[in-house]
């Protein structure tokens, strides 16, 4: 019996046809073994798809996997208990970003 994530890989590859939502970062896969149905998130160990995914079972039985990126910045700042800098405060403190445009 293949491991669950190997089965997911199989269906992920099937979903990678032109126009597939997989290309937009959302992967639709068919229902896989019962081990998947019982959880809300799943962690894949495959080099290409490593990470934690939120799992939603669609009414037609397919599973929707989406990368679980965790808390929003708003939630993080609420936990910290601070406030974000204004644009003026940020510019005063850190100046302008470099021109390489990396991100």
């Amino acid at each position: 019996m293949p491991k669950p994530h190997r089965l997911l890989d199989h269906y992920v590859r099937k979903a990678e046809r032109p126009g597939s939502r997989a290309r937009a970062g959302v992967v639709l896969v068919r229902r896989t073994p019962a081990t998947i149905q019982a959880v809300r998130t799943i962690t894949l160990d495959d080099p290409e798809f490593a990470g934690t995914y939120a799992v939603e079972c669609l009414p037609d039985g397919r599973l929707l996997l989406e990368p679980d990126t965790g808390p929003s910045e708003e939630t993080i700042l609420q936990r910290v208990g601070g406030r974000a800098l204004t644009s003026e405060e940020f510019a005063e403190e850190f100046g302008d970003p470099p021109a390489h445009g990396e991100g």
């Binding site: 798809f49 490593a50 990470g51 808390p71 993080i76 910290v80 406030r83 800098l85 644009s87 991100g103």
Partner: protein
């Protein structure tokens, strides 16, 4: 006169949930995992030296919009550091600190579907993936 701001270290507050999700994308012992864990250990105890921080681009080439956030390159001693840790500067009790925002690779290898640290940070900031 030297800029006194450049001489200081900024305290870093790590979000356990966000950090755990970010490092879970890498296996224990891999360069990425080691870089993240070492950085957290160092930053949590010593803070980040102001000179290590670089502002993120307001409009990145990849469509990410991260104005108002800063980053460090990791490992810091590497000639071409492959990893980045991003922070949101915050005012806490009147002082400037950094809130952990994301960790990951700066550029994914060609053909990879994995997300860069900038895309993950963009999603946490804006609630959607860049370009969607």
């Amino acid at each position: 006169m030297a800029d006194r701001r450049a001489d200081r270290r900024l305290r870093v507050r790590f979000d356990d949930e966000a950090f755990a999700l970010d490092v879970a994308r890498y296996r224990p012992g891999t360069p990425a995992r080691v870089a993240a864990e070492r950085a957290r250990e160092a930053f949590a105890s010593e803070g980040v030296h102001r000179t290590q921080l670089e502002p993120c681009a307001a409009e990145g080439r990849d469509g990410t919009q991260l104005a108002g956030r800063v980053k460090v390159y990791l490992p810091p001693e590497a000639v071409e550091p492959p990893f980045r840790m991003l922070f949101s500067p915050v005012i806490v009790a009147g002082g400037l600190e950094l809130a952990y925002l994301a960790f990951g690779v700066g550029h994914q290898p060609k053909g990879s579907r994995a997300r860069t640290v900038y895309e993950i940070a963009h999603r946490r900031v804006h609630g959607r993936w860049p370009g969607t």
